[in-house]
């Protein structure tokens, strides 16, 4: 832990505020405050080996008000949304959705350490906001060029194979109601979820 907590130590209310904020910004009822630190999530996670903190530790950090450390963690970005932890959690914490919340908060606070994952999500979102559909060719080329230039040759050969099997197109498809979707998303961006 090389960063100071976001709030003065000893100020319990301020510590709790980060937990409350994460809860409020999570889609369903997060139940984050119910965590008993049993480790079911960290034990279940198929990608735990690559995480800097297990989900359980991350929840302890959130409780401790360690805002910056928590938002800098790579854990939410490694989460593969397999929902094993969610169905096994003895306290029914909405773990996967808390991970989504932490990602969006990290992007807002610009606290992520590796930009690969946030960029991938952002590129994906850009495609969707432009066309209303995902566009894999555009996504893959933009993403691989930026983040894995060395892997480009093997990716390209795979891409050609995909193209030849008609599993990829070089032209995106745009939905008819793009203006409507645009209006909805623009309005949505002005809204926030509060408790």
């Amino acid at each position: 832990m090389n960063t100071a907590p976001a709030v003065a130590p000893g100020s319990t209310d301020a510590n709790l505020r980060f937990l409350e904020e994460v809860s409020a910004r999570t889609a369903g009822v997060s139940r984050l405050e119910m965590c008993i630190q049993c480790g079911t999530c960290g034990g279940s996670c198929p990608a735990a080996a690559d995480m800097d903190h297990t989900p359980r530790m991350l929840f302890a950090m959130i409780r401790a008000g360690m805002r910056d450390d928590a938002l800098r963690s790579n854990t939410p970005w490694i989460c593969v949304s397999c929902y094993h932890c969610v169905v096994r959690c003895p306290q029914n914490v909405h773990i996967a959705d808390v991970m989504y919340t932490l990602k969006s908060m990290a992007i807002q606070a610009r606290l992520y350490r590796d930009s690969t994952a946030p960029d991938f999500s952002q590129t994906f979102v850009d495609m969707v906001e432009n066309y209303g559909r995902s566009f894999e060719f555009g996504l893959a080329t933009r993403h691989y060029l930026k983040h894995f230039p060395l892997r480009m040759p093997s990716a390209a050969s795979m891409g050609i194979d995909m193209l030849s099997k008609k599993r990829m197109t070089i032209k995106p498809k745009r939905i008819a109601g793009m203006d409507q979707l645009d209006a909805i998303l623009s309005r949505a961006k002005q809204l926030e979820l509060t408790s």
Partner: protein, 331 residues
């Protein structure tokens, strides 16, 4: 004919064309009528939720609102793609669980003159519809070319059996639905221990090394069971295991060569479709050997498929815990 609304999702348009083609090919024979929602948009996959919450749910909400508007008789929306299925179901569920989310989403939808009442659409996966609405008996009746001799690893991945807000599946860890369907098709179904484990999801894009390990575990387990083919219900699983199988082999120095097919493709073969009509030929790891197996061993509907060898009972061995309702036909 049972009518349903269909949300195909982006993958089925291009990457998982085999899934779409096979669904469309078996739809009629199975007595299904799937009406595509007009001008649907992307569900946001696993990406949009991590960027901005209200827009992500508004994006899904538009599809639900369109489906509700188009609902004509059927209010059941079928989503064959796991991520789409989960996102649609999740938005519907959370809009009910946290009413403030529902209000916000509808505020956004109002900007496009749309509205969605949470709970007014039922989101279901195609496999669920096939098992519970069409029924295994009806499917079995239509099987003309049983897949005798084909060893199949049933693979559901994550987002269909979990988190399962509406308790539609027999289990979160070891659901039996796909196994039962494949057995009815005449295939030899292995008890695949990783049937609901992760394929790597988007990690193939953002942390390939993490993804390769997850892919390796699945291929390794299927190989240990000598599976001829892995049957999946999800475009993402299919893509990761199929398109990245070569990369995984290079990464670990392994030589797996297991074809990954959609379960609807196997249904198609069993119903007597030819390989092309069932969407074969688009897979990166060729399914030719697997197809040969069924080809050289002609189907015999009378003979039940062998379901693995059972070791001779040792007189000293202790009994296994008995499973109520598990004896005999487990349908």
């Amino acid at each position: 004919m049972s009518g349903y609304l269909l949300y195909p999702g982006c993958s089925l348009e291009v990457g998982a064309r085999a899934y779409r083609d096979s669904i469309r090919a078996i739809e009629g024979p199975l007595g299904l009528e799937l009406t595509e929602i007009e001008d649907w948009n992307c569900c946001g996959a696993t990406e949009y939720l991590g960027i901005n919450l209200i827009p992500a749910y508004a994006l899904i909400g538009r599809n639900l609102a369109l489906a509700a508007g188009q609902a004509n008789g059927s209010r059941t929306l079928v989503a064959p793609c796991s991520a789409c299925y989960l996102n649609l179901a999740k938005a519907d569920y959370y809009m009910r669980e946290r009413p403030i989310l529902g209000e916000r989403v509808n505020e956004a939808l109002a900007a496009g003159d749309l509205h969605y009442d949470p709970g007014s659409i039922t989101v279901r996966h195609l496999l669920d519809v096939m098992i519970n609405d069409i029924g295994l008996d009806a499917i079995e009746e239509r099987v003309t070319h049983p897949l005798v001799g084909l060893r199949v690893a049933p693979y559901l991945g994550c987002m269909v059996p979990r988190p399962d807000y509406e308790h539609r599946w027999s289990d979160h860890e070891y659901p039996n639905e796909l196994d039962r369907l494949l057995k009815v098709l005449g295939a030899e179904v292995i008890d695949f221990p990783l049937k609901t484990h992760c394929c790597g999801g988007h990690m193939t894009q953002i942390g390939p090394d993490t993804a390769y390990e997850l892919i390796r575990r699945l291929l390794h387990a299927a190989d240990q069971f000598k599976a001829d083919v892995i049957a999946t219900v999800c475009p993402m699983c299919q893509l990761n295991l199929d398109a990245y199988q070569g990369a995984t082999n290079r990464h670990f120095g392994t030589s797996y060569e297991t074809p990954i097919v959609f379960f609807t493709q196997l249904v198609g073969l069993a119903l007597g479709l030819d390989a092309e009509a069932a969407g074969f030929g688009r897979e990166m790891v060729t399914a030719r050997h697997a197809l040969d197996r069924i080809g050289v061993e002609p189907p015999s509907p009378e003979e039940p498929a062998e379901t693995g060898r059972r070791p001779r009972k040792d007189p000293k061995s202790l009994p296994m815990p008995t499973m109520p309702g598990a004896e005999g036909d487990d349908r």
